[in-house]
């Protein structure tokens, strides 16, 4: 599932381990708050340098999704994107499974989804870059 051979389109927001892909949460050692990605300043308590990485967002619930037909440079239309709620008040923008796969229909709003990492764009130098993609969970309760 997790294709980590590609360079990420954006550094420090997703990764993978033995359990599969995850989003990188920044957990604040001072206030305990969670942010998406490691960043210098905690958005909750404004302390500087207190965030440490934590795996989050292996699963989530799709909030909304659309199919993009007019693509910006580096993307090949059509592709599906959306917002996934991953708990603790976090919502992430990601690519979303567009078609039924192995009999599992593409997820709609409210459906449970699982994260994988996929090639999502091509740089001007022709190299593919990876990004987060949420797909439907087989047999998940709707």
């Amino acid at each position: 599932m997790a294709d980590c051979s590609l360079a990420p389109a954006w550094d420090g927001v997703w990764d993978a381990d033995g359990e599969g892909a995850f989003m990188i949460g920044g957990r604040c050692g001072a206030c305990g708050g969670l942010a998406l990605g490691l960043r210098p300043i905690c958005p909750h308590c404004h302390k500087d340098g207190t965030l440490t990485a934590e795996a989050v967002g292996r699963r989530g619930r799709l909030y909304s999704a659309t199919v993009i037909h007019q693509a910006p440079p580096g993307f090949e239309a059509p592709y599906r994107v959306g917002y996934v709620d991953i708990g603790e008040g976090l919502r992430v923008f990601a690519h979303i499974q567009a078609d039924a796969e192995n009999g599992v229909p593409a997820p709609g709003p409210g459906d449970e989804v699982a994260l994988c990492i996929a090639a999502v764009k091509t740089d001007p130098d022709g190299k593919a870059r990876s990004g987060p993609l949420y797909a439907a969970v087989e047999g998940a309760a709707k």
Binding site: L36, Q70, P72, G82, G89, F93
Partner: protein, 377 residues
């Protein structure tokens, strides 16, 4: 804070189009000259200038005015993405209201190319392939999921606005479109199709905003600014209700409170319909209908000319195109003509109170919303 009264004394518009062979400075100067003539004043009378643009480079306002032999005045260039024009109007109104100045000029202008807007400060979402129409589409999809709104409901906004545009000699796209034509036009980001997107454009708009004493010098009906709210949403990966698109609710609440009125008192609205989905969601955010009923509003013809609360009698961004820095200022030109009774062919009869709404931003809605209320004096 108690503000003294300030009004719109003159308006000027360089209708939006391509203008391949005209510089943005000249496009803007034409609007300034028209606004000064409409106000019946000279540029030398102006105390301060607020210039709105997004992509036109350094000291844009100064570059516009140096071609008109302007005196040494206070000049501020304003950038608030697509809400820059309305933010500039608001700043000029506050300048007069707080008695800093008596007479201010607002000019908004833009010269643009084609295609998707390329934001110069790409964030995570844009880097992953999000686009401006997709952002609205995601809000629209959630609205469809929660309230049963249909793709046809959104498409009807374009049919309505293009009908208004056909009646407005200042509009750029003046042909009516049928519902099927809108639905069958090229898909951009589901449910948004090509005819539900504003086009990029070039053009300019200008206003003269003056104290009561200055406004008294001009004959004819007066147009006063009664209140304004400017609010921003920073987004930042937190869960929130995307069907409350932008900061329309908080900005309009502030504007209504300042003006001492409510949405039921508004006779007509110019709002930011960069995409049809935005218009329906903003109608709800402004309180023109209960939340979730935006689809019904357009289905019933409430927002069409002759309806309960006409929205975008100018034809909106959908019919005019969207030169970013000019758009918010141009809304005030349309509303001023309406409140004076000068909107030939598209006049809302007896219009006394009007509302301007504009909104701009990027990514997960980080951006500004400005709502301003006008009244005929």
């Amino acid at each position: 804070m108690k503000l003294r009264r300030a009004g719109i004394m003159g308006v000027g518009l360089t209708p939006f189009d391509k203008y391949d062979d005209v510089s943005v400075e000249v496009i803007a100067q034409r609007a300034v000259v028209a606004a000064l003539a409409d106000a019946g004043i000279a540029l030398a009378d102006i105390n301060a200038v607020y210039a709105s643009h997004l992509y036109q480079g350094e000291v844009f306002g100064q570059r516009v005015l140096r071609g008109l032999h302007a005196p040494e005045v206070q000049l501020v260039n304003v950038e608030n993405a697509c809400a820059g024009g309305s933010s500039a109007v608001r700043a000029a109104w506050l300048s007069v209201g707080t008695e800093e100045h008596d007479l201010c000029l607002v000019v908004g202008a833009e010269k643009m190319g084609r295609g998707l807007i390329a934001f110069s400060s790409a964030d995570l979402e844009l880097t992953l392939g999000n686009t401006a129409p997709a952002q609205y589409a995601l809000a629209g999809q959630r609205h469809m999921h929660e309230y049963g709104t249909t793709a046809e409901d959104f498409a009807r906004v374009a049919v309505k606005s293009r009908h208004h545009g056909a009646l407005n000699p200042n509009a750029r796209f003046r042909e009516e479109v049928a519902l099927e034509e809108v639905l069958e036009s090229r898909p951009i980001a589901d449910p948004i199709t090509l005819l539900q997107c504003c086009r990029n454009g070039s053009g300019a708009a200008a206003l003269v905003i003056g104290s009561e004493a200055w406004c008294a010098k001009r004959g004819g009906p007066k147009v006063w600014i009664e209140g304004s709210g400017l609010r921003s949403i920073m987004g930042d990966s937190t869960e929130r209700d995307l069907t409350n698109f932008g900061a329309t609710r908080t900005a309009s609440t502030a504007a209504y409170e300042m003006a001492g009125i409510g949405p039921e008192d508004i006779d007509l609205v110019e709002l930011h319909d960069a995409f049809t989905v935005g218009e329906l969601l903003h109608c709800e955010g402004l309180g023109l209908c209960p939340k979730g009923e935006g689809g019904r509003l357009v289905r019933d013809g409430d927002t069409a000319l002759g309806g309960r609360i006409p929205v975008n009698t100018s034809g909106g961004l959908i019919s005019k195109s969207h030169p970013v820095g000019a758009t918010g200022v141009a809304q005030f030109a349309e509303l001023t003509w309406q409140l004076r009774g000068e909107a030939a062919g598209r006049q809302v009869e007896g219009a006394k109170t009007a509302l301007a709404h504009s909104q701009g931003g990027t990514g997960l809605e980080a951006g500004a919303t400005c709502v301003t209320i006008l009244a005929r004096g």
